[in-house]
Amino acid sequence: MAVKSDTRVNWYAATWRLPMLVWQFLFFVIPLAFLVYLSFWLVKNYRMIPGFDTVNWVKMYAKGYFWDAYYLTFGMATLSMVVTTLIAFPCAYALAFKVSDTTRRWAIFFLIIPFFTSYLVRTYSWQVILAEQGVINAVLSYIGLGPFIMLNTKIGTLVGYLTLCLPLVVILQTFSLANIDRNLIEAAHNLGCGRLRTVFTVIVPLAKVGLIIGAVFCFILSFGDFVSPYYLGGSRPPTLSILIIDTTKSGQQWPKAAVVAVTMIATLLVVAFAAVSAAYRKRA
């Protein structure tokens, strides 16, 4: 006897899904569609003219500085992701496995505190710390070192990215590691697996989803960030988000700025999809 497939709509589940779908449609799909459409408009006498012309795409993609900014942004975001993940992992490992519950709770509370203040304010405070006459160089001068140039360099930008991403990545990694079944770790130890080998062959694979999600969040936030490359990197050279600002300053060239923005979103979508599929890929 053939079994009838259940084609009835599960209204209960649909109701719970609906707000997210509506939200995504209203605040992501529609603005994105408009942004794509805007990239085909023209600008004449400082006025945007609706239309469908590929000239903005052709012109922007033909510019060497666009690709320079693209590779720089991608490279800096990748560097930020790698450095943040590497710094965050030992912290998250310690919080997940080596401290008491109370200490972990307090640590997570302190990791959340930076989000109470504006990211811009935190970035400005880094200027005071990183400047040639700033706090770090003042301390180093006592032992006869420096001054080191950190502000308005790529190091400055990276420090800004870490300020933005590190607390979040540590929290994500901590939750991911804390949810690992301790019996599996103990089993590995009982079978003679060393501490380091346990980390890389048991803990990291089991926490893979959380670790990748943390890394991809870091990439996304760094890739689109305007504040750090501008205020700590001195806009030298500019990233794609700075290029968007620059482009709008040339007589209402919002369609060309839209080309940059759409390229950024497309890149992030590819990276996010690749990361999520890597996270959930089953081991052969």
């Binding site: 060497g64 040639e132 140039i149 205020y231 001195g234 806009s235 620059d246 300053k249 040339s250 007589g251």
Partner: protein
């Protein structure tokens, strides 16, 4: 017990009842007056550069005219145009613009109102050009009124650069300033200054041939090894103050003046190749329903009291445009008048500098498009 207390409240004494009734009657009688007082407060929506609607500029006018300013701040003329085009008609009553963007507003035809020149003290202006400022008039009709201005030249750290060295834009290429030169991140003032250094002063550093433009680009690119960074308003302040930047292209006293008054060893000069003038003006939005109040505010900014406030504006100071304003400044803020050369006989007197041909009005490019200049700026930043 609870029941007793409740019943006392529900059954007040005769005295209490009279008190409550009196209070209710008074509230009923006075409510219309209170409401009318609130309703009469006019909300004036202003689109302007940062600081123009802060208390140090508008509080006296607000108190005297029962007005409340509601500002939307922008940075850069393009952002002003964007804010305007993205807002429905009637959003703004008054627009504060750079003169070169006032022209664009006016050319659009339907954005700003024609003004009556007789309503403004043009006979009191410090310089004839200010009454017929380029771009403020179209077909003999006035649309925008100049209220303040300033000069852009070489801004420098006095501990590392001497006043003599600062008297030429060549100082930016001085080897001791390697990695110590900053740019205000806007192409027009920086490229205009380098155009002046290349000798493009007739008719204007912004009205240059293709050959001259190519040389400006070449000269600008040669500056890149000296450059520390490209900064916005806040970044420029911070970098000059914390010693990251010893000289800055594209700014003037509007930045260093604020720092100087705060005790920083920085200053600005108009170098021998000439300086660039930023000019700010007000227009009344055509769709405004509060045009009389907007006009009254423009008149106030041109009054001696308004001019003194503008010259001392906390966000960034600007020169007076009227004789009576300058005189009031000399009386009320003599130090500031002296510091900025707004006294007779000063070598850096802004009007003297203009009359001697040292100053060129900032403008959009005449023989190239604004896009050409901006694209080069992006290329330069990436070089």
């Amino acid at each position: 017990m609870q029941k007793d207390k409740g019943s006392k409240i529900l059954r007040p004494t005769r005295r209490k009842l009279l008190q409550y009734t009196g209070a209710a009657a008074a509230a009923t009688l006075f409510t219309p007056f209170v409401h009318r007082a609130w309703a009469d407060t006019v909300e004036l929506n202003i689109l302007s550069w940062y600081g123009l609607a802060e208390p140090d500029m508008v509080e006296k006018f607000e108190a005297a005219n029962n007005v409340k300013f509601k500002p939307k701040y922008y940075a850069g003329g393009d952002n002003m145009l964007a804010a305007l085009s993205q807002s429905p008609a009637g959003t703004f009553d008054i627009i504060h613009t750079d003169a070169e963007y006032a022209r664009i507003l006016i050319e659009r035809g339907d954005l700003v109102d024609e003004l009556n020149a007789a309503d403004y003290p043009f006979d009191d202006m410090l310089y004839d050009d200010f009454t017929k400022f380029p771009g403020h008039w179209k077909d003999g009709k006035l649309y925008s009124v100049m209220t303040r201005f300033g000069h852009l030249g070489v801004s420098y750290n006095k501990e590392h650069v001497t006043a003599e060295e600062a008297m030429s834009y060549d100082v930016f290429w001085n080897p001791k300033l390697k990695d110590k030169v900053g740019h205000f991140d806007w192409h027009l003032p920086s490229l205009g200054q380098i155009s002046l250094l290349n000798g493009n002063n007739n008719p204007s550093p912004f009205d240059i041939s293709a050959d001259a433009w190519a040389k400006v680009m070449e000269k600008t690119l040669s500056l890149k090894p000296q450059v520390k960074g490209f900064f916005d308003y806040g970044g420029t302040f911070a970098s000059l103050k914390n010693g990251e930047m010893w000289a800055c292209v594209g700014i003037g006293d509007w930045v260093t003046g604020v720092l100087e008054k705060d005790g920083a060893a920085v200053g600005s000069v108009v170098p021998k190749e000439g300086g660039i003038q930023w000019t700010e003006s007000y227009s009344i939005v055509s769709s405004s329903t509060k045009k009389d109040m907007a006009k009254k505010y423009i008149q106030y900014t041109l009054s001696p009291a308004g001019q003194v406030r503008s010259a001392n504006m906390k966000a960034y100071p600007g020169f007076c445009v009227t004789k009576s304003g300058q005189k009031a400044l000399q009386g009320q803020s003599p130090d500031e008048a002296k510091r900025t050369g707004q006294v007779d006989g000063a070598a850096n007197n802004p009007i003297t500098l203009i009359k001697e041909g040292h100053i060129h009005y900032r403008d959009t490019p005449k023989q190239q498009s604004l896009e050409d200049w901006n694209e080069f700026w992006s290329e330069y930043k990436n070089a």
